[in-house]
Symmetry: C2
DNA sequence: AAAATTATATATCATTATGATATATGGAGG
DNA sequence: CCTCCATATATCATAATGATATATAATTTT
């Protein structure tokens, strides 16, 4: 039995909380898992159709406030497929972190320029962290969702401290 | 002037150290930036051709030990394009971290199963960290490459500590 | 009250990137 | 001698992104 992908699983996972539309799934992902796993409309809509064909979800078409809407419901097969995925071994973490790529090649830049960019980057990291801190963990339905929110906050604290140390190092006059 | 992408820049960046083949570029990326930015052959070879057409690199075709080889050299235009990229503002970090996706939906699993998976995951993280620690920073030509290696090690220390704390939390009998 | 903007909602598409596979040769070890 | 691994280039189906198109409802601004 061929296993399903992470994005396919996230979509099923969203539907374990309640039936919702593709648009609502995208919204939920954006303000919950997007920091560690994102998905675009260009993935979500085709996967929902694929899930429907595989009987993992079923569709309820309705008109709400004059607006056409497709509500996706998780089937039992969809739920058991999701549970099976949950127990599969996690894949290695991959990342797109171009600030570290820049740092890797920083010997091509003057020290002033390096520090200027890192200072700007730190501002951005602190801004982002502030926005994360603003999200109330209590808004979530269970402790696991709080844990992952907490991971995001901890990760940005790690990044900020790391770049602060780097800046200290670079600003220290070398011997 | 349209800017170049991060992968396109990494390839130019590799060529700032010395001229090399597509195969060598892939090798260098695999054991240096891959942790925070990876690239596959399916990206590298087409980009090298694109760079050649844009005069960012030039090609030296040769036969070494009877084996056909294309050595790519960075042009001046290629170097200035790379320098311009270095000063551009960094993009937000994106990630594929499916362990956190699993955690996000862990209310669907028994506590024993949760702990079992996290313990296995911690083993994997510790293994990976050990392998990272084995890479000698001294092998690198400049301190910036050491910094990024150090970031990788620090990131895995962060992850290990984070999941150790999580495991403690989950194993603690709830009131 | 009209206009503009934002939110809801689905869908598609060109471009980008991955992961796998194909092809071929040299070198090392059993 | 044969197998396996490293070197080396290339392509391709599949996946995923980011942007755009389309349309309507709700809200905010002028």
């Amino acid at each position: 039995m061929a296993s399903i992908s992470t994005i396919e699983s996230i979509i099923l996972g969203c539907l374990t909380t309640r039936p919702m539309s593709g648009y609502e799934i995208k919204q939920l992902i954006s303000l919950s898992t997007s920091l560690f796993y994102n998905a675009s409309y260009g993935s979500i809509y085709p996967i929902l159709r694929k899930h429907e064909e595989a009987d993992l979800v079923c569709v309820e078409e309705l008109i709400e406030n004059g607006r056409f809407k497709k509500i996706y419901h998780l089937t039992e097969k969809g739920y058991s497929t999701f549970l099976a995925w949950l127990e599969e071994p996690p894949q290695p973490i991959t990342m797109k972190n171009d600030m570290l790529v820049r740092l890797f090649f920083y010997n091509n830049l003057t020290c002033e320029k390096q520090c200027e960019i890192i200072r700007m980057y730190l501002d951005h990291l602190r801004d982002f962290r502030q926005r994360l801190e603003g999200i109330a963990a209590a808004a979530y339905s269970d402790p696991y969702k709080e844990y992952t929110l907490c991971w995001g906050k901890d990760f940005y604290v790690f990044l900020i401290e790391w770049y602060e140390n780097l800046l200290n190092d670079l600003e220290k006059p070398s011997m």
